[in-house]
Symmetry: C3
Subunit: 114 residues, 3 copies
């Protein structure tokens, strides 16, 4: 099974396709609040999935990290409007610190690339 | 490779089968303490695995989130009694906040469905 | 698809190979500081990957937990020197508590075993 990496940096790649599965990096984005950051994170995930020849209806699993669970509803409002409601992934959301204090949300996905 | 989703909600699915692999959502459960919650979480995982045509002896990987590492031993006591000791998954356990303060433990698994 | 487990304990296995994918446990190591622990963790990951017939150039996805994001740069210094720069995995790093307060970093990887 071939491995194809996208947006390869010396520390990490933004997406790694192995066989029929793609692993995305944890995605963060600038923004004034959780809703703006989540909107930009999900747009970046759309872009990565497209580059890998797939889309959000093929999401398999997602882990969402928020720095403050008080922002859970704001993150979910954007998520719920974005995700394909008939093809939702397995998901966990936990509260954890992120690499830079300006970030409020980080989302890491796995998707099918069939 | 087909994707089959179980207990599909508009936000997340409880289980997503892709080829020979199933991804479960992070599972939480009500309960008075970590032991009771972990017992119920693992029963729910058993039920999801059964629905996907597999069982705990096929677990591949597990991430466990506890809200307070002082409950690590209680979680492990229930886990150790439940898991198939000859077929244990790769596992990580970390301390992180969960979506609702009533929850003390959340468990997210991947399993084979061969 | 066969499942092959390595370093199987009654609670968890250090590595689980399923088809062409290997799931490693979260790896921790003793050490006086983040750099020493990360060095030892990555050496252990090398060893596990070798036992599974693969190596770090086949990494697919990695989640790194640090107990204090102030140690992010130290972890990255060791990571950057270790990882294959043309074959980097998808990666997320978050701040979370670990099972024992002596540990500063825990790394969980998935790799191809083609």
């Amino acid at each position: 099974m071939a491995i194809k990496r996208h947006e390869v940096g010396p520390r990490l790649s933004q997406a790694v396709v192995h066989g029929n599965t793609v692993y995305l990096a944890g995605v963060v984005a600038d923004g004034a609040d959780t809703k703006e950051q989540t909107t930009k994170v999900l747009a970046k995930i759309d872009s990565l999935l497209t580059a890998c020849g797939t889309n959000k209806s093929k999401l398999l699993s997602t882990t969402i990290y928020v720095t403050d669970m008080r922002n859970f509803a704001d993150m979910n409002a954007v998520w719920d409007a974005w995700v394909d409601p008939k093809n939702t992934p397995a998901r966990a959301t936990v509260e954890a610190g992120l690499a830079n204090t300006k970030y409020l949300v980080e989302i890491m996905c796995t998707a099918a690339v069939d």
